[in-house]
């Protein structure tokens, strides 16, 4: 298996083999972060630009740490303090970054398809760090990496994704990735947060949290994105917690070793109780650690793939 893509835009267009290559490469990179000198020279002399049009701390920091552990130089552009404020278009910003001889752009944008548009206009690598409601591939990859590390495989696992499926790029990337790797995926949320025709992605829909947890090997708890609730359409927080919140009582009815994941940041007492978030089943902080290894693998592979594609 040879990686030939210059970009990582989403899991929808990756093959099972490509996803598995990223996960196995990440497995090799994980050891680097446990060393005293947490650095290898693989991307020495390469420049990675983090271009973030949406606020993000953990994803940006995770990419920055990953790039630095590969010895790349990292530049962070936050659009609040850049020429974007003066009306520069995304393509112009991209071609200017390319003209600086940067090698990889990591982009987070509030419009779906922004990463793909940038990738088509540039010769340098583009990594999607979240585009609108579309995809957040590295989050899904680190979720799958964590699952595989904990349970030894993905094939045949029952994974429930709970929360705001309609507005979640994390959910979409997870669904595409998990199904390609042979997992059975259930999505669970109040009806208003389930997008129409979601079944066509190959998932089962449940409106009953206890039923969705019942025989699940893992549950991925999504953050309730109240900041996206323009029309006041979301359920009230207290009501959501009562009906869909992941609590100790609900977990007691599930498999004893069920894995609890959350992409962060946590809304404690809304989608997950503190007891569960900090409890024995939670792998939330391990996800953060694994995110570094997965992003190192992605940066390394797209930097290699750049030459293979041309």
């Amino acid at each position: 298996m040879v990686w030939t893509r210059k970009d990582l835009l989403g899991l929808d267009d990756l093959s099972r083999e490509e996803i598995e290559l990223i996960l196995s490469t990440a497995d090799s990179f994980k050891e680097v972060s446990s060393r005293q000198i947490k650095k290898v020279p693989a991307l020495r002399g390469k420049t990675v630009v983090n271009l973030f049009y949406e606020p993000s701390t953990r994803t940006r920091v995770s990419f920055e740490v990953a790039a630095k552990r590969l010895s790349a130089d990292v530049i962070n552009i936050e659009t609040e303090t850049s020429s974007v404020k003066k009306g520069e278009t995304l393509i112009d910003t991209g071609t200017n970054i390319q003209a600086l001889n940067a090698d990889i752009i990591v982009i987070r944008h509030n419009y779906s398809g922004a990463a793909m548009m940038l990738a088509r206009h540039l010769n340098i690598s583009v990594v999607n760090a979240g585009d609108g409601w579309h995809e957040h591939p590295t989050q899904a990859l680190l979720d799958m990496f964590t699952l595989k590390e904990k349970l030894g495989k993905i094939d045949g696992l029952k994974v429930s994704i709970v929360g705001d499926i309609a507005h979640s790029r994390v959910a979409r990337s997870n669904i595409w990735g998990l199904i390609k790797l042979g997992a059975e995926v259930t999505v669970c949320a109040p009806e208003i947060l389930i997008p129409p025709a979601i079944e066509e992605m190959g998932v089962r829909v449940s409106y009953d949290i206890d039923e969705a947890l019942h025989d699940a090997d893992a549950v991925n708890v999504l953050r309730m994105q109240f900041e996206r609730d323009g029309q006041n359409a979301f359920p009230k927080q207290v009501e959501y917690f009562k009906n869909f919140g992941i609590t100790k009582e609900r977990l007691q009815k599930a498999k004893k070793n069920i894995i609890v994941m959350h992409p962060g940041p946590l809304n404690r007492g809304i989608e997950i109780s503190s007891e569960v978030a900090d409890g024995a089943n939670s792998v939330i902080l391990e996800q953060v650690t694994n995110g570094i290894a997965v992003r190192m693998a992605v940066l390394f592979l797209v930097a290699q793939g750049e030459g293979q594609e041309k």
């Binding site: 050891e31 680097v32 060393r35 290898v40 020279p41 293979q308």
Partner: protein, 179 residues
């Protein structure tokens, strides 16, 4: 079909390993502070065999680690090859140790340069020595082995392949003429 000629057979490899084990023990005055680090892929199996030989001679166990040098290669930015990254697995502290690096074939020396950088990133060993089954010459860097199974003069139009039963069909070293 490329032309092949055998450089070492099973017995010759076995004797080489045994002799190198004796030389390592002689030079290091026993197993105190000694550890072996095999370079992926076949250096790892040779390091394991050296460990077994040392155990037979000295009745002492020495730790063996695995080094993957992919991330330290100097040809990563060349687009012709895309190496697969594997794990480095060295679960002991190499600081203040005498490390014997083990590889199958020594050629340009670039792999060993990468291995030295990779090792030193893991700690500061007391010394690093180099054991190889075959030294085929044509060095491009100032690197020399401390322990050699066999010196074989080769042309740059030839390739040396070491096969080990851990991953191959036979124990042998062969010279292959490239097309």
């Amino acid at each position: 079909m490329p032309d092949k000629s055998k450089l070492l057979d099973k017995e010759a490899i076995r004797r080489s390993i045994m002799r190198i084990a004796h030389e390592i023990l002689e030079k290091n005055k026993g197993t105190d502070g000694l550890c072996l680090v095999g370079i992926r892929k076949r250096g790892v199996y040779l390091a394991e065999r050296l460990k077994a030989a040392i155990q037979t001679i000295e009745k002492k166990e020495v730790p063996v680690g695995i080094l993957d040098i992919t991330l330290y290669r100097d040809d990563l930015s060349l687009t012709t090859s895309q190496p697969v990254v594997h794990k480095t697995e060295i679960d002991f502290d190499i600081a203040h140790k005498s490390v014997v690096l083990v590889d199958d074939v020594l050629y340009t020396g670039r792999t060993i340069r990468a291995a030295l950088d990779a090792l030193i990133d893991l700690g500061r060993p007391r010394s690093i020595q180099l054991a190889v089954l075959i030294d085929r010459g044509h060095r491009e860097l100032p690197i020399r082995p401390d322990f050699v199974g066999k010196n074989i003069p080769t042309s740059q139009h030839e390739a040396v392949e070491v096969h080990l039963t851990e991953v191959d069909d036979a124990d042998e070293a062969v010279l292959v003429k490239k097309e």
